[in-house]
Subunit: 367 residues, 2 copies
């Protein structure tokens, strides 16, 4: 329904049936003013059907803790491995497959919210495009908490300090090069898309990474992501960087609830034929930004890119619907590792949404 707002200014000077017609036009205009078509707009009111948060998974672990500030010495139970999920459902959410976003190393779900320079993040952008959005804090990070047992044991003297899990905290200097803002700290690529005037706001998002407290080959986040897909009766899983291959890891555990795999900016490990056959049943998109050859250490981006090109080719050979979206090949230049926060983040989101519409949604080009 489209009504020119000018309609409302027309005089009521008509008689007979014309009066009803005018009144109904006023009515339509008033309804438009009262409830703008938010899902077609990036500004104006945001209308939600529902929002909230919950946990997926979590197991009970018995621990002994020494006296600690206000808390006495205690032997008791804590819950570990739970995964925090925050969600919003737009009014028309049921028309699209929900999208689950998982952040990378040394970051939290803040990744997908307001960008460092204060623009709308992907979480709200996808919402305004009619998608239900689920933001995950990885197990052992942010609101999901972590298992402190080994740290407490070192402090209590029952575990050697060298055996304490390593905390991974990226410095500003490391982030600058690894995230491909420029060739060296403080120097930007000429066409850099990351909003470097606000890079200090990105640094505030960078928080200690405690994934070393988790089993290396059985990260509980993978299991909980698979369970979240089942709970949602189908979801598209999107991973980035450290979590870039988590969607695939989740699908290898249980593909039941997974309708699409989106792998952004990571390395793709070699898989067996049986694993490839399992993943080939799910549409897969791999996405990379620019300047991959311009940063070689401490992270070899071309190596990561090539490993994923191999993965995409193997999926296709196994009969899968897989695509490598290397942004420069589409004429989109200068994107960093943090492409969901880059100045052209909406453009990249549109590419992802178009891929979802054409490869995952049942109706092509659904809006």
């Amino acid at each position: 329904m489209r009504v020119h707002l000018g309609t409302i200014r027309r005089p009521f000077g008509l008689s007979g049936d014309g009066r009803l017609l005018i009144a109904l036009r006023v009515c339509a205009a008033a309804a438009l003013l009262a409830a703008p078509p938010a899902f077609a707009q990036l500004t104006g009111p945001l209308v939600l059907k529902e929002q909230g948060s919950f946990f997926v998974g979590g197991v009970t672990k018995t621990v002994s803790q020494p006296s600690n500030g206000p808390a006495p010495a205690q032997t008791g139970d804590i819950t570990v491995n739970q995964m925090y999920v925050q969600y919003q459902i737009p009014m028309a959410g049921a028309r699209h497959v929900p999208v689950v976003f998982v952040h990378g190393c040394c970051l939290s779900s803040k990744t997908w919210e307001t960008t460092p320079d204060g623009r709308m993040g992907w979480s709200e952008y996808f919402l305004r495009k009619g998608r239900s959005v689920y933001l995950v804090d990885q197990v052992s990070r942010a609101r999901s908490g972590f298992d402190p047992s080994d740290f407490s044991a070192v402090r209590a003297g029952t575990l050697a300090s060298a055996r304490m899990p390593a905390i991974l905290d990226a410095t500003h200097q490391l982030a600058w090069t690894v995230f491909r803002f420029g060739p060296k700290f403080g120097e930007a690529f000429p066409d850099e898309q990351f909003p470097l005037e606000a890079v200090d706001e990105l640094y505030k998002q960078m928080i200690p990474d405690l994934n070393s407290t988790l089993p290396q080959n059985a990260n509980p986040t993978w299991t909980q992501m698979a369970a979240l897909g089942v709970k949602l009766h189908g979801a598209i899983l999107v991973g980035h960087s450290e979590s870039g291959f988590f969607p695939e890891q989740a699908a290898l555990i249980d593909p039941t609830g997974i309708r699409g795999l989106v792998t952004i900016e990571t390395g793709c490990p070699p898989l067996t034929q049986a694993q490839l056959a399992k993943l080939a049943k799910i549409p897969t998109l791999v996405m990379f930004g620019d300047h991959l050859a311009d940063v070689t250490k401490p992270l070899n981006w071309m190596g990561a890119f090539e490993s994923c090109n191999r993965f995409v080719a193997q999926l296709e050979q196994a009969g899968g619907d897989a695509e490598m979206m290397h942004l420069p090949d589409l004429g989109i230049k200068g994107n960093s590792h943090m492409l969901m926060q880059d100045k052209n983040s909406n453009q990249i989101a549109d590419l992802l949404i178009a891929w979802i519409d054409h490869h995952v949604e049942t109706r092509r080009g659904a809006e």
Copy 2:
């Protein structure tokens, strides 16, 4: 504007001016259907003017880190002491003073979201009552991150393990009694208001508390809360449990942006006359639930209650507008320490909103 939905079903069989009247009634009903008055309703669409997240504060710290997984040995800068804030503004938000919620020990902002038994939390309830809501993750917790330096130093062998900050992690057993669910673990008070059938979901919210990494008498969260008040051009600060007195601590640092202090379920430390005079300029509410005398260890709730009764009396003596709201005195029984998640959480929220309207808002009883 109130329109019975039945209006829409009336026939269009009238002539002359009556027709316009009916059409306008249809119009009103249609507008109601298109955009229900969400702020008067607890169900139906949630209409937001704006939402997002940002950080307050944060300082740069130079650290030396050994090689750590994919990260090489590095000397560089990290950001610490930043405070993560997630906010939502309702369509009519500017008509009310924003409310800032800060969580307690071993918890995150999840405290204020969907309750353990799946009901609407205070964050959305206040929003639907027309309030702008700001959820804070305390500095050193959840999405605010923490300073890992001392942990890394212990692991590297440059700091004695006994000097490593203690991580406070509450067990299920400790929470049961301290949160006053019942006299001992697994046994509930007969009139207990906490939704104990969903207590496992509360346990998942309980995450390690790293406040011991912060200066004890200069918690950066206090400073950032004061700064947040200034940024918002006036806010009501609500603290709970560990953060119960943080609103007052923030006001002692800078009261400029603080329009109201709400202290829920904590101990109130003794203050100087100068400090009391400073706080007495700001309306203050202290709130406690039930069964205070029924739990004496490890936390003496009656002692905490009495310390806050003293604080309220001192504020009144200093000319302040201060109130102790002890729920059982209002005939509201059985509330736990987690009263924002109790089965009657909406009722408690209404009491808080009524206090805000009458003591903080310029127009009494504003809606």
